[in-house]
Subunit: 161 residues, 3 copies
C-alpha cells in the first residue's frame, strides 16, 4: 500500500461552474503531490469534447446525432448550474473570471493535463450517448466503473460532483 | 478494524440519471466485495417508492398528500437532471439504454438488492414528507444520520449524489 | 496521524435543501466527536451571508452589485433544488419543518457554530463574486482550496454537496 495520497473525482455534472470546482480541486491536489483522477461520466463527459466539429469514423444513428447536437461541445460551451439566464450567466462568470485574473475552465483542463491529472472518459456513457474517441480531447484515458473503484478505494478524498 | 472495503452513497437527488449513477457505482462496488450502503434522503427517497398506489395505514394530512402526489412514485417515474424536456428526456434515455442493452434504473435497484447492497431510507425525511413504510419497497432498512455516519467513518469511498 | 475522525463537506450548492443536508450531516458528525469542516464555495457561500443589508467598506463594481442583488442574502432566503415553484417550495418545506419540530437551516447553522464545526468561506469565490467579510456571518474562517485539502486528506468522510 503506497503512501501517496489520492484524490478521485467523479465529474457527473455538465455545468460550467461545477466542472470549474472539480478542476480547481484537482489542480490543487496535484500541486500537493496527490495522484489525481477525474472520471468523466454522463453530462460531465461534455467537458472533454473537442470544440471543433469532428466527423466521427463510425456513422451516428438518429439519437446519437440528437445528443451530439444538443449537448455542449467542449468545456467553453457549458452552462451554469445556477443563474444561467438562457446562456448569459456563463458570459458574466467568464467576464468576472477574466477581470480577476482567475483561470477559465478550458485552461484549468490544460493545467490538469500538464500536472498529470488522469482524465478518464467513462466508456459506458460514451456508448450510451454515441460519443467516439475522435470527438474527445487527446491524451485522456478510457475506462469503466471498475477502474474508478480501483483508484478510489486506495484514496480518501473521493468526491462526486 | 475490519479489512472489508466499504462504499457508502448518500442519494439525495431525485433525478433518474443521478440515481442510475449511484446504483451503477453501488453494484460495481458490491461486485468487488465492498460492503455497500445507499442512504436515501430527501428526493432520493422517491427511488424507493413502490410504483403502485398504496393506501397507507396512517391517514395523510394535506401537505403529505400534496407531496405524495407531486413526487415521482418509484424509480421509473423520475426525471432527468439535464435535458428533461418536460418529461421526454427520460423516455429518450430509456430508449437509448434499451438499444444498448444497458440496465434501466428499476433493474439496477433489483440487482443491488440481490447483491446485498444495504438500501436505507432516511427516517427524518420519511417523517417530513409523510412517507410510510408501506409505501416503500420491501427489504430495505430504516435509519437516521447516526447510522449513516457509523457506516461512512469506516470506509473511504463516501459519495453524496 | 491523529485518531480523531474527520468529516469535511464542500458546500457548493446554494439550495436550501442541499444546505440543510450538509448541516444535518455536519451536526451529526460533530455530535459523534468528529472534527468537522464545511467549506463554502460558489453558491454555497450564500448560506453564510448576513440577512440584513450591509454597506461593505469597499465600494462594489457593477457586476459585484448585480451578484449581490441576485443571490440570496443568507440561509433563510435560499431556494430549493426541486419543486421550488417560483419560491413557494421553500415556504412549504419550512411549514413542514415547523410542524414536525425539525430544525430550519438558520438554526442548524447556529447549532453547528455552537458545536465548533469549522465554517470556512472560500476566498477565491468571495473575490469573484465581490463578497466582503463584513457581509458574512461572524466567527467563520477564510481559506482556499489548499486548506480544504489539508483537512480532507486526513479524514475519510469527504463530501461534495
Amino acid at each position: 500500500m503506497s503512501q501517496v495520497k489520492k484524490t478521485t473525482i467523479i465529474l457527473f455534472s455538465g455545468d460550467y461552474d461545477k466542472a470549474m470546482a472539480a478542476y480547481i480541486i484537482a489542480n490543487g491536489a496535484a500541486a500537493y503531490d496527490h495522484e489525481v483522477t477525474i472520471f468523466h461520466t454522463f453530462w460531465g463527459l461534455n467537458a472533454l469534447r473537442k470544440d471543433e466539429q469532428v466527423e466521427p469514423p463510425r456513422k451516428k444513428g438518429f439519437m446519437e446525432r440528437m445528443f451530439a447536437r444538443m449537448m455542449p461541445r467542449g468545456a467553453d460551451k457549458m452552462g451554469l448550474s445556477k443563474m444561467n439566464f438562457a446562456g448569459m450567466g456563463p458570459k458574466m462568470i467568464k467576464d468576472v473570471i477574466r477581470k480577476h485574473n482567475a483561470v477559465p475552465l478550458p485552461q484549468l483542463i490544460e493545467m490538469a493535463q500538464e500536472q498529470d491529472v488522469k482524465l478518464v472518459a467513462c466508456t459506458m456513457t460514451m456508448d450510451l450517448l454515441g460519443l467516439q474517441k475522435e470527438e474527445l480531447l487527446e491524451g485522456i484515458e478510457y475506462a469503466g466503473v471498475a477502474a474508478y473503484l480501483g483508484d478510489a478505494q486506495d484514496g480518501n478524498v473521493n468526491l462526486f460532483i
